[in-house]
Amino acid sequence: MDKQERKRKNTTVMQLREGVKADFEIVNRCLVVKLLEDLDHHNAVSIREQSDKLITGKNIKDIIFDFTGSEFMDSSGIGVIMGRYKKVIFTGGKVAVTGVNHSVDRIFRLSGLYKIIHKFETIDDAVKKFNNN
C-alpha cells in the first residue's frame, strides 16, 4: 500500500509526516496502532507519544497493536506495550496484538506478555472480540 493510498484510507486520526512510524485509527473506543516500522527503541519514542495523546484525548478503552507492517520487535517494544497496557487496564480496557510474524511472536512468548495481552490473526477479529465484551 503506498503512502497516498494510506492517506486516503485513514479518515479518522492520521498524522502523516516524514518518517511516519505508524498509522492510528479509532474504532468505537478502540485505538488501532498499525505499525509500519520495526518496534525498537528508536521508533518506540514517537509511537508512545502519539498513542498516549490519543488514549487520553479520545477516551480510549482498548488498544490493538497491528504488526502486519512491522517485522521486528525487541525489548523496547515490550516496554511500549506494557506501558500502554498499564494505562488502559484501570478502566477495564484490554490490549491485543495482531498480524505478528514468527520472530515477533517468539519475543511475546519469551517475555510472558501473552499472559496479559491477547493475540488475534486480524484487526477485525480483535475489534469484534473487544466490542462483544
Binding site: 525498537d40 521486528f72 525487541d74 525489548s75 515490550i78 516496554g79 506501558g83 520472530s103 517468539r106 517475555s111
Partner: protein, 140 residues
C-alpha cells in the same frame, strides 16, 4: 583450514543507528546461510546490546558504539563496546525485568533476550570506563 572473516563498525550513539547496526550484522552473517530464525535471534541480540549502549552507557548523549563481528567456521562472535558510564552491578543488571531506567519504560528484558537468543553471553564493565558485551552463536 579454518574459515574466518571479520567486520568492524563504529557508529554514533544515536537511536536511529540501532536498526542500521542489526541490519549490518544480519547482512554479514548471511554468508553462513543461517535460518530466518537464527537471523532474527542475532538481530534481536544486537539490537538489545546497541540500545543498552545508547540508553545506559551514554545516557542518550553523544558517544561512539563499536561493533565487531567475527565469523570462525560456523560460529559468530559479536562484541558491542561503549566507553560510557559502565555498569555498577552486572549481576543485577542481568536479572530479568530489572531496569535502572523504569521511567523510560524499559522492560528489563534486554540481557534476558541476549541470553536466550545467543549461545553464550559475557558482560565486561568498569565504572566510568565503559562496557563490552560479548556474544557467541553457532549457526547450524
Amino acid at each position: 583450514m579454518d574459515y574466518t572473516n571479520e567486520m568492524l563498525l563504529e557508529i554514533d550513539s544515536q537511536s536511529r543507528n540501532e536498526s542500521f547496526a542489526r541490519m549490518v550484522v544480519a547482512g554479514f552473517v548471511a554468508q553462513l546461510d543461517p535460518t530466518i530464525e537464527e537471523i532474527a535471534d542475532i538481530k534481536t541480540a544486537v539490537s538489545e546490546a546497541v540500545t543498552n549502549a545508547i540508553i545506559h552507557g551514554y545516557n542518550n548523549g553523544p558517544g561512539k558504539v563499536k561493533l565487531s563481528c567475527r565469523i570462525c567456521n560456523h560460529e559468530v562472535f559479536i562484541e558491542v563496546t561503549d566507553t560510557g558510564k559502565g555498569i555498577e552491578d552486572i549481576e543485577k543488571a542481568m536479572e530479568p525485568l530489572y531496569t535502572s531506567r523504569p521511567e523510560l519504560e524499559r522492560s528489563g528484558m534486554g540481557f534476558s533476550f541476549m541470553e536466550a537468543f545467543m549461545d553464550d553471553l559475557k558482560v565486561e564493565s568498569k565504572l566510568g570506563e565503559g562496557t563490552t558485551v560479548k556474544m557467541k552463536k553457532l549457526i547450524h
